[in-house]
Symmetry: C2
Subunit: 406 residues, 2 copies
């Protein structure tokens, strides 16, 4: 699959042995003590290089652990290796990762290797990041859980993914694993400096049936495959049969208004993304090894002014306010994790259109691998409210438990 760019074999074996001793002595450091974890290669590690998915930085030793990695080591977790990322966690899969469920297909991106490693069962959890659709999309494609918390909820210091929508994301085998890893991080190093950090219990919140869910079609709906739409419709009917009210734009004009607004999410996100990439791309364009795609993005950034950026930030704030207003009447919004199965081929990591709304909104989102398309996994996505990650996780746990385990 090409999921890992580096494996810390000796260090991992030693860390696992130390964890075994702690468990035997009944003195585990945390509930993730001994859990093997992959780390996206955009996140710094003291004992392994951080290549950022770019030939410009291949083998680069930053000689320190990111906040998340430090916290997980303190909690006793075993850092197994660095997982492949697209170039600078953006769009280009310079080291393509194969999908564990069909190796002719992409694993998605940018957290490609983390999703593939979890989807293949190599590790129960891995760290990713998301600024556009980089955690939930590959999770949907690779058949694992993808959790992107509220913006700022997990300390991303020491990650090279540092834009104003960037979040540390967790890829995991189950919602509980995703929460436990996130919780182990926040209790040791907090959220981003100045943010209160992920709020909720140490262990995963207890499953709780939602009373009312909203279907969010987003701009991606017309791009979704027929089978993906059918799978979503069946999931919706299933929830209704279980007693959950699942409403859509036909029942709630305010929801329809929000859907019309959120159609702008792609354009607004990429305007913000482009401006924020003036640095470091403005320097990197002088060097070989930068992809043509990022050169075009750097050129596009040069056409923007600071006032354009400020206008995009204001628009983002308005959209967030509208979401806060409409979402208050639902336990969560329900949509697809991706437009369908992972695309065949390795040169494109797929369309992030279903993931951009939660990224733009800065709210928590989780993709559960409960649907299928073309015989491949497909995620059912739940989107929550800012700082109410624990409520979203309780709803997700209930939905997860309502499906029979394989």
């Amino acid at each position: 699959m090409n999921a890992f760019v580096h494996v810390a074999r000796e260090a991992a074996i030693a860390a696992a042995a130390a964890s075994d001793r702690r468990w035997r002595e009944n003195k585990p450091l945390s509930s993730v003590d001994g859990m093997t974890i992959g780390v996206k290669d955009i996140i710094e590690t003291e004992d392994m290089p951080t290549g950022q998915g770019s030939p410009m930085w291949e083998g680069s030793q930053t000689r320190r652990d990111a906040a998340s990695v430090q916290a997980l080591r303190e909690a006793g977790a075993v850092i197994l290796g660095k997982t492949v990322t697209t170039e600078f966690a953006a769009t280009e899969p310079l080291m393509p990762v194969r999908n564990p469920h069909d190796t002719t297909r992409t694993a998605g991106g940018s957290s490609s290797g983390s999703a593939a490693a979890v989807g293949a069962g190599i590790v129960p959890a891995a760290l990713g990041t998301q600024v556009i659709g980089s955690t939930l999309r590959p999770a949907s494609f690779c058949g694992c859980v993808g959790f992107k918390p509220t913006f700022g909820a997990l300390n991303r210091s020491g990650s090279f993914d540092h834009l104003s929508q960037s979040c540390l994301g967790i890829l995991a085998a189950t919602p509980e694993d995703a929460w436990t890893v996130a919780s182990a991080i926040v209790r040791r190093v907090g959220g981003d400096p100045g943010h209160p950090g992920l709020d909720g219990p140490i262990l995963a919140p207890t499953a709780r049936a939602p009373r009312r869910l909203a279907v969010l079609q987003t701009a991606g709906w017309t791009k979704a495959s027929a089978a993906a739409q059918a799978a979503f419709a069946a999931a919706r009917e299933r929830l209704v049969r279980l007693g959950i009210a699942v409403e859509d734009r036909r029942a709630d004009p305010d929801l329809e208004g929000f859907e019309n607004t959120i159609a702008e999410a792609v354009a607004v996100s990429f305007r913000i993304f482009d401006w924020e990439l003036r640095w470091p791309l403005g320097s990197y364009v002088r060097h070989k090894g930068l992809s043509e795609a990022l050169r075009r993005r750097a050129a596009s950034a040069q056409t923007l002014t600071l006032d354009d950026y400020r206008q995009a930030l204001r628009r983002r704030q308005e959209i967030r306010a509208q979401h806060a207003w409409v979402s208050a009447r639902y336990d969560a919004m329900l949509t697809l994790g991706a437009t369908g199965a992972a695309p065949v081929g390795l040169s494109w990591t797929g369309d992030p259109v279903f993931n951009i709304p939660a990224s733009l909104l800065g709210v928590p989102a989780i993709s559960l691998p409960l649907l299928a398309d073309e015989g491949m996994p497909l995620g059912l996505q739940l989107i929550g409210r800012a700082n109410e990650d624990a409520d979203l996780m309780a709803t997700a746990a209930w939905v997860w438990q309502s499906y029979p385990s394989d």
Copy 2:
């Protein structure tokens, strides 16, 4: 003085020659084209190592420019060298910098070398950072202007000073130079990701007489030397003679209430600072080369919980709200830049107590070297309102011009 840790002699000469050509052809890139600038050694530079003032990182090549440095190069400025910082921009002067006005005294810190280089007239401007008192205190000690903008107003990406009160600061010969450098940065790389960035004109705002200033005594008042207090009183009388209303706690009970609140600034700031240093100090304690002072701080951080941190953030928010309410009735608040002259000796960089309020508040502040104590420079500090940096600068320019030039 030991102001520079590295000088890029050849690159600076080449950059200066290129700038000369542009000016001769009447095609300067900006108003800072050709300006020589020092860069605090906590900020990354592509062509020079970034040592962070620590033997752990001495000679470390990060191989990229920070956002501010990239922007200044794009604007044609000449990056002369890296200036000495205290260890990790915190308290310990592991490479002591001598004061240009009396080499038996400290230059202050943590932006020690930047303040000394500007104070000595080696460069007209230098980049510093401030999370506690690291730009305005050394500016006061070294006889230069120190400008700390609103939190987030200048993009600090690529600086290792990344706490929730950290700002890029400018040390400069005049208020105009400080503004012009800041403006050149923000127009090219914006503020911190997600922030609107420094607001105001490209060139320095026109001097404008304030109508009403508030004296802010802060918790530092009792620590200020008698001569510093006398110098401040004389400056106040001078402003009154020039027709400015300068009020204090006796005239405004709300101002007195705010002064009582801001007395907590030191304790709240250090609680936040300590928690936020859990990373990376939590890893660094395993290595040699970390000072005892930072080891103690790391140990103190371990006694804090995430809830303690959240409580400190909430208190900071309350204090900011009280400041916003009281400060609306004044053009600026007026106080000292430091407790007095730079202390004799090189093992301590002086007391930041006068600089912590603006740091905690996240509001702009500027120190003007207009006072004296023990025959040494002493700053007159003006503190403004969040995002109203240009208004503060217009007031500062007027105060500056009201003093006779040497």
